[in-house]
Symmetry: C2
Subunit: 342 residues, 2 copies
Amino acid sequence: MKKKASIHDIARQLKVSATTVSFILNGKAEEKRISSGLEKSVLEYVRSIGFQRNQIAQSLRTGKTKIIGMLVEDIADPFFSAIARIVEEQAYKEGYKIFNSSTENDMHKAKALIRVLRERQVDGYIIAPTNGIEADIQLLIEDNFPVVLFDRYFPGLATQNVVVDNTGGAYNAVNHLFENNCVHIALVTLESEQVQMQNRLNGYLRCINENQLTQYILRIPYNLTHEERAYLINSFLTAHPALDGILFATNYLAISGLEAIQQLSLSIPEDIAIVGFDDNTHFALFSPSISAVAQPIAAMSEKVIEKLMTRLSAEDKTTVRETIVLPTQLIVRQSSRRGSIV
Amino acid sequence: MKKKASIHDIARQLKVSATTVSFILNGKAEEKRISSGLEKSVLEYVRSIGFQRNQIAQSLRTGKTKIIGMLVEDIADPFFSAIARIVEEQAYKEGYKIFNSSTENDMHKAKALIRVLRERQVDGYIIAPTNGIEADIQLLIEDNFPVVLFDRYFPGLATQNVVVDNTGGAYNAVNHLFENNCVHIALVTLESEQVQMQNRLNGYLRCINENQLTQYILRIPYNLTHEERAYLINSFLTAHPALDGILFATNYLAISGLEAIQQLSLSIPEDIAIVGFDDNTHFALFSPSISAVAQPIAAMSEKVIEKLMTRLSAEDKTTVRETIVLPTQLIVRQSSRRGSIV
DNA sequence: TTACAGTGCTAAATCGGTTTACCTGTACCG
DNA sequence: CGGTACAGGTAAACCGATTTAGCACTGTAA
C-alpha cells in the first residue's frame, strides 16, 4: 500500500512549512498573508500529486467530524429509505456524511446505537425515536448536540421536531370513508404509545364521535410477520362482519390487511372500503388502486436537514425547541370510492 | 458542552499513566503485566464516569476507521435498501459502521463519492458499480483496499464479486413463458452495458434461439420517469400487437409496464403474460399477482459482508479475485399462468 | 556479590492535520 | 534616526488515542 502523502510531505518537498500548506488548502491564504505566487505553486503541486487530506486528523484537531448520526425504524421500509435518500443528498452538498442505522423500534438497540454514535463523535443527530429513549436524548441535548426528531417526538424534550399532521390526516381519511357511505369504520393500528400513533387514533376517534358512529379498533403488536398480522386482521374482520370501512394506520398494516381481505374474498370497495396511512408507489397499481393518506416525504426530509444544518452552523449554541407540522394529503383512489350518501 | 473525559484525565485522576489505562481498556492488562488489582480499579472508575473512548483519535493512530464505504444505485430502491439493511446489521456486529451513498448510476457521482470515501479513510468498499469507474476501482485495488462488488462487476478487475445468475434467471423466466403458451415473447430492458443487464439479455436470447422464436427487444434509457417509461412501453406494445409475453429486466420496468398494460386495457395473463426480474413484496398482492425472478437478497448481503470482513481481518493482504454466483428462483404467480401447451 | 530474569509500570513518539503566538525584514513617517 | 506598521512566513503546541522502548525494583541462582 503506497503511503499517502501528508501535508508535511508536501511542505518538505516545497521547502515551506506545514502551516503554510494548511492555510493555503483551507483557503486562508489571503487572510494569513501568503503571497499569491506561493499559493499558486502549492496548489499546483497539490493537484499534481492528487493529494487528499486526511479527514480523520482534521476531525481530531477541530472536534468536528462532519458526520451526522441518523436513527430510523427500518432503513428497508420505503418511507424511511426515501427520507434517508434525500437527507443523505442534502447533507452531501454541505460536506456531511450520514451514519444510518435501523432501530427496529427496539429501545435497547436505539440506546446502543446512540452510544456508538457518540463514540464516533458525530456532530448531530436525526432520530425517529423509539419509546424509552427520552433520557438518552435528553443527555444529548445537555451536551449541546443538535438533535432533530422526525415522524414522532417527545413533547417534553427541547428538540426540533418535524412531523406530519397525523390527527388531521386520520380525521380526513375517516371522514372520507363516512362520506362514501361507510358507517362501521374500523381503525387497524399498532400497539404503540408513540405520539404519531396516538394522534392517528385521535383523528379517528374525533371523526367517529362527531358522527356518532361505533368505534372498532384493532391493535396489532409491533414485531409480527406479515402473515401473523394478516391472520389477526382476518379474525378481526370475521368477528365484526358489519364492518364496511377500514383505515390502516401504517403502510404495511394496509398490505397485510389486503391479504386478509383477499383471504375472505371480500370485494373492495363494495363490501369494504379501505384507506392506508402513508402512500406507496405501488398503491396506484393495485386493482383496485388503494386510497392513502400521503405524507410529504420530500418536504419532511428537507425540513429535517435544513433545521439540523442551521443548528450546526449556528454561532449561538442555545437549544431551540420547535415542532414543525406538515400537512398530509388524502389521495382518493378506487379502494374507497363507493358513491356518496347524498 | 461538558468536556468529555479523555484517557489522560482518567490517568491523572487515578495517578497512573495513560499507557496503563489504554492497555487495560484494550484488554491487554495481562499481556502487558498490569496487576489485576489496578486493572479492576481502573475499570471500575471508567465505568463509574461512563467513559467513552474517542474513536477518531483511535482511528488516527491505528489507521483503521472501522468504517465501510458502500455505493449503491439508489438507497430508496427496495432491492438496494434491503441489502443495505442486512449489510449494516452484520457490519455493526463486528464494530463497523457504513457510509451509504446513492450513485444514481451516474459515473461522475460515483467517482466523486469514492474520492470522499477515501478522504474519510474508510477501511473497505462495497460497490454496485456504474459504468466508467473501472479505473477508480483499480486504484483502490492498487492501494490494497478490500473491495467487494455486487449486483454487477468488471470482469477485468481483481475484486471479489457477488452476483446472481442473471443469464439462468432470465432463461428460466422466458422458458416458463414459452411453456405457458407464449410464442411472441419480448424483453423490456435498460439501455445499459452493465454485465448484469447483458446477462439477462443473453439468457433471453438463448431461450428465444433454442425455441426458434422471434426476438422483440425494447431498450429503455436509464434516467426516465415512471410515466416516460410507461409511455415507451405503451408504444412498443402498440407497435407489436402480436406480443403475448414479456420479461421485464428490472423491478421498476415491470411496474411501468403494468401501467402501460392497464392503459391499453389488456388482460393479464390472457392477452399478455408477464414476469419481472427481481421480486417485490407487493407483487404477490397485485391482482393478478405478478410472477418474478427472485434474487436471494439475504444470501447476497451475507456473502458480501462475509467476504469483506474476511479480507479486512486477513493478515495476508494479497488481492483475491473471486466471483460468487448465487442462484435465482422463479416465483410463478398468476400473471404468467396460462395453461401449458401440453 | 553479581548477574540475570521477571514484574509492574511509564515517558515519549506518533498518527496528520489546525491553530496560536511569534519572528524577520522592509517600507514609511515624522 | 527611532518607531511603527505590515508583509510573509514559521515553530511548536495540540487534539486523544496507541505503541515502542525502557526504567526501577525484587527475587533467585551462581
